[in-house]
Symmetry: C2
Subunit: 129 residues, 2 copies
Amino acid sequence: MSNNYSKQREIILEVIKNTRIHPTIEEIYEMVTKVDCKISKSTVYRNVKILAENDTIKKITMQEGPDRFDYIHFPHHHAVCEICGKVFDFEYNFETKKMSKSIKKQTGVISNMDCITINGICENCKSKK
Amino acid sequence: MSNNYSKQREIILEVIKNTRIHPTIEEIYEMVTKVDCKISKSTVYRNVKILAENDTIKKITMQEGPDRFDYIHFPHHHAVCEICGKVFDFEYNFETKKMSKSIKKQTGVISNMDCITINGICENCKSKK
DNA sequence: CTCAAATTAGGAATTATTCCTAATTTATAT
DNA sequence: ATATAAATTAGGAATAATTCCTAATTTGAG
């Protein structure tokens, strides 16, 4: 296995693995520089891109602001609160599969539903209103 | 009703209404300048944003590249081909509602499923492979 | 060990978008 | 109609997010 052979790439992956905050590149960069202060931002960008293409991590494209990333501990989707921006995980299930079938029928697009992100309002923000 | 009172805003809305290509700002800008060559790009940005906040048009956040926009002829979602980037419309239906309920149960996030975009592979690109 | 390939840091360049300002247009109240 | 206030505009500067470039360094294979 010839992946992950640079020290920097290992640090970046470890950092993403060990957080639950669905970090942006900026946040990943801040975390990795605490481990090794000389890692450059372009190295973070490059390796995060490689890891996302690998399906080691998942890119979460946000409606507003920079992309976020998440280590794939298990296959899952994301629900983003439109008010506070917090990201919640939810699992693949029967409903996901049914919807995938319905989309294929309507549009011809075949999807494993890998990149769905749902926008809505979380419980906390709803109760504040 | 005090919306749409500038000439520029009317042109921008008309252009978006009369295309099916789910245009980017750049593409909207090119189309509006064919009607009135003096409209500036910042005017396009500003008005497109207003129209999206109005729910007159819908912003489609792409996995790659700039946002795209679509006039809301009827409520619908989008399926994006990961290979050619083409955007397909699909309707709200039973499956969408079921999935929304499932997400609420799992995450607490309440969504009207307004901003789902599904990524996959379209028929045309699939047959080429 | 040696050498080719991959990776790095750091910054320049690019892309997408927002912000700023003075001038113009539009709406409102006489 | 006319004055005045509010909104909008063009155009460019500024910002944010990301990619690209290059010479130096590190890594892995023979």
